[in-house]
């Protein structure tokens, strides 16, 4: 499908790159379909472009290059909602916030995607994790 995105311009989205977030994101309950588009060429950063609102996009990162100790543990209800049979099917992305002086990642509320069904969910982890963890290459 062709989308006209504020951030990406006109891009053709392969159906296999469409992710469904049935519950939306926290604070964005009605935004349920996203395209996942590479940002950069090393598979670290992604655009999460809303297909419901062409003006809405997020930048996300795979957390482990920056936070190798990060071990999100999913609750039973999250595993059920994602229908995750095999943890290997889970893709984890953290949303980025870019401010004037920092780029930070939300480690408390990561996005977890079942890569097989392409269904995703923003989960809320237990534990004392930051919503603004500065990205620092280690």
């Amino acid at each position: 499908m062709l989308i006209e995105s504020e951030q990406l311009g006109a891009v053709e989205i392969d159906d296999t790159k469409v992710l469904s977030f049935p519950d939306g994101l926290l604070g964005f309950p009605d935004v349920t379909r996203f395209a996942l588009v590479d940002a950069g060429d090393d598979a670290t950063y992604f655009w999460l472009q809303s297909l419901d609102d062409p003006q809405l996009a997020f930048l996300a990162t795979v957390p482990w290059p920056f936070f190798p100790e990060y071990e999100p543990v999913l609750s039973d209800s999250d595993q059920d909602a994602l229908d995750l049979q095999d943890p290997g099917d889970a893709m984890v992305l953290c949303l980025l916030t870019i401010s004037d002086d920092a780029v930070t990642a939300n480690l408390l509320g990561p996005l977890v995607v079942n890569a097989v069904s392409r269904t995703g969910r923003q989960v809320v982890l237990d534990g004392d994790l930051p919503t603004r963890a500065p990205l620092a290459a280690i």
Binding site: P65, T97, G109, A137
Partner: protein, 76 residues
């Protein structure tokens, strides 16, 4: 809002399947035990609010210089 008074070890039942029990009261702090089915998520309200706020901050507005994003170190 429904307001109920409960003592330690007393519970309330919500929707027939969620049980909230007062475990301990110490000063202005109350410890609650919550028994809920697997499909019900239970979180502290302020955590939810914090993630909502952060999501709003994360929504990309305007141009972004992707060159500002740090590069992960090689081999990571």
């Amino acid at each position: 809002m429904l307001v109920l008074s409960r003592r330690t070890n007393e519970s309330i039942v919500i929707g027939g399947e969620i049980v909230v029990t007062v475990l301990e009261i110490k000063g202005d702090q109350v410890r609650l035990g919550i028994r809920a089915p697997r499909h019900v998520t239970v979180h502290r309200e302020e955590i939810h609010a914090e993630i909502q706020r952060e999501n709003r901050s994360a929504a990309v507005v305007g141009d972004v210089d992707l060159g500002r994003l740090p590069k992960p170190s090689a081999g990571a």
